[in-house]
């Protein structure tokens, strides 16, 4: 596999029971790039995202056909340990969901469940992750306070720090700013710009302007099919297909 490609969906089909949700998706995600998945509600972009770290395994009666490759290896291979996979491919959810624990324990959680016990290592990693998530300055004096006392935007940045603390290679973001106010949203978007130096980021967003602002590559989906994928600038200025153009300009969606 071309070593600039971090993850790749190869002829991926996904079924919720009998419902064929994703049709033959083939899509590359390049290293250290931000790929945005856009499309109207129900087009399958969140479903695809959740296939990339096998979160859809939790849904009963779901089925996958085709493969998803992480650095050349199929994550749906029966020998793959899902738990380890999810350390390499992290996820940030739509609504901030910090645990009802202290700020420190939230960020340290991922490391603890993976067996890290060394206190000084934990302390350093927590600081490093909170700095990467641009939250350190705001919480460094209250790491032992409950995470639930933070504002929505802070909680989401905490969730990002929590995901980064296990040092994944890919970070999946499912509409990370949709529950946040504009100022918090802006902070998250700046964060994404900085994070792509270190991680490969795949982001689902309802907000087209956000996709235009943060991503390098944009993929447009419609009713479970990949319609068009290209450099973000091209998609938003000179899309090749009429359907893409209609969605971008708001004719439907």
């Amino acid at each position: 596999m071309d070593n600039k490609i971090k993850m790749k969906a190869d002829n991926l089909n996904f079924y919720y029971g009998d419902f064929h949700a994703l049709h033959e998706i083939s899509l590359d995600f390049k290293k250290n790039e931000v790929t945005a998945l856009i499309g109207p509600s129900g087009c399958g972009k969140s479903t695809l995202l959740r296939c990339l770290n096998r979160m859809n395994d939790l849904i009963p009666y779901s089925r996958v056909e085709g493969s998803v490759l992480l650095e050349g290896e199929d994550i749906y291979d029966p020998n793959v340990d899902v738990v380890t996979l999810r350390r390499h491919v992290g996820m940030v959810f739509q609504k901030p969901n910090p645990f009802p624990k202290s700020i420190f324990e939230n960020v340290a959680y991922g490391m603890r469940v993976n067996g890290v016990r060394d206190k000084s290592y934990l302390v350093n990693q927590v600081e490093k992750s909170l700095k990467q998530a641009a939250l350190w300055e705001e919480v460094k004096d209250r790491l032992d306070e409950s995470a639930l006392g933070l504002s929505g935007g802070q909680q989401q940045r905490l969730c990002i720090a929590r995901a980064l603390a296990v040092e994944p290679e890919v970070v999946l973001m499912d509409e990370p700013a949709s529950a946040l106010d504009p100022i918090a949203t802006q902070k998250i978007e700046e964060l994404i710009h900085q994070l792509k130096e270190l991680y490969t980021i795949i982001i689902v967003t309802h907000n087209m302007q956000q996709a235009a602002r943060v991503s390098d590559v944009t993929a447009f989906f419609y009713i479970g099919k990949l319609i068009e994928v290209d450099q973000t600038e091209t998609i938003f200025t000179k899309p090749k297909l009429q359907q893409t153009s209609d969605y971008i300009t708001g004719r439907f969606g």
Partner: protein, 318 residues
């Protein structure tokens, strides 16, 4: 017309827009002061009054029972009563062995029922996939809740006391009470687990935790308040049961306090029964019966109060 038409000086019998007041069965009412809305208001007031009466009856029943017992039993309560054993064919002395016996049984019951109940609830709520087996298990648990307590007593006698040769003992009694408390504990634990948002589980699994790690690091701690409340309510029920312990643990009289779990004991509910029916001095001990009942009620109400206060404290924290 010189004055503008306002709500006050609008001719009577007309709706807000000046149209005719509606008769039944024509259009929807437009006015704010129609006879129909008066009728609906009256119905609402009647219903609310009925609900208030029901609530008052409910609350009064408890107050009445407590008052009744208190007025007849308070004279029996003193330091001797609570700390000494009964003497003189139980017409004098205290009920210490009964208090100790009841506490031992309750403690024993919860030690057995809590781990098994919580584990079952975790299995049913977190691991089991919907299917025939789960349905059968749930059916079993629900039916267990409906088994009469005397039947539990007979089961305890036949199985624990006789078949497993435990004899009439704290052990047999605790196990029987544990079996009785299981449905309550499983039910309240399941409810507490269900109340934990799935988003926590997703976040944990997304970070590379296993299902079990998710349960004991995130879900169970979050559900703990509900689990503990259920446990306290479970014990308080077990403390007051007579039939299950009659055949399995409680006896008319023991000369000393229990020293091992294989000992037989006296217990508060059974003591009331014994004094009121089988004792040799039923009338003479009447005040002691009420006193014992008062102590038992105080114990049960006390436990319930702890559960309520604890739950309220945790709700305020959240």
């Amino acid at each position: 017309m010189n004055e503008t038409e306002t709500v006050e000086n609008r001719p009577k019998g007309e709706g807000l827009l000046g149209r005719e007041e509606m008769g039944h069965g024509t259009r929807a009412p437009r006015g704010m002061h129609g006879s129909l809305s008066r009728g609906r208001k009256a119905t609402q007031a009647t219903m609310f009054t009925m609900f208030r009466i029901a609530a008052v009856i409910n609350g009064s029943a408890l107050i009445f029972v407590v008052y009744f017992l208190f007025s007849r039993g308070w004279r029996a309560i003193n330091w001797t009563f609570l700390t000494q054993a009964p003497v003189d064919s139980m017409t004098k002395g205290g009920i210490l062995p009964c208090i100790v016996g009841t506490l031992c049984l309750s403690l024993g019951a919860i030690i057995v029922a809590l781990p098994i109940g919580v584990a079952s609830a975790i299995y049913l709520n977190e691991y089991a996939r919907a299917g025939k087996v789960v349905r059968i298990i749930r059916l079993g648990i629900n039916n267990l809740a409906g088994v009469p307590s005397v039947v539990f007593g007979l089961f305890g006698l036949a199985f624990f006391v006789v078949y497993l040769k435990m004899g009439v003992s704290i052990l047999a009694g605790s196990l029987t009470l544990a079996a009785m408390s299981l449905p309550i504990i499983i039910g309240s634990t399941e409810e507490a687990l269900r109340a934990v948002p799935d988003t926590y589980r997703e976040a944990s699994l997304g970070l590379g935790a296993t299902k079990w790690q998710t349960i004991y690091r995130v879900v169970l701690p979050a559900a703990l308040p509900g689990v503990l409340t259920g446990a306290i309510l479970g014990i308080s029920r077990a403390a007051g049961e007579t039939a299950p312990i009659m055949f399995t643990a409680a006896v008319y009289y023991t000369p000393s306090l229990p020293s091992s779990m294989f000992d037989e004991i006296m217990a508060l509910p059974y003591h009331i029964y014994v004094l009121a029916t089988a004792g040799t001095e039923i009338e003479a001990t009447r005040h002691l019966q009420y006193g014992t009942a008062l102590v038992l009620i105080a114990l049960v109400l006390g436990l319930n109060l702890i559960a309520i206060l604890y739950r309220a404290k945790l709700r305020r924290k959240q």
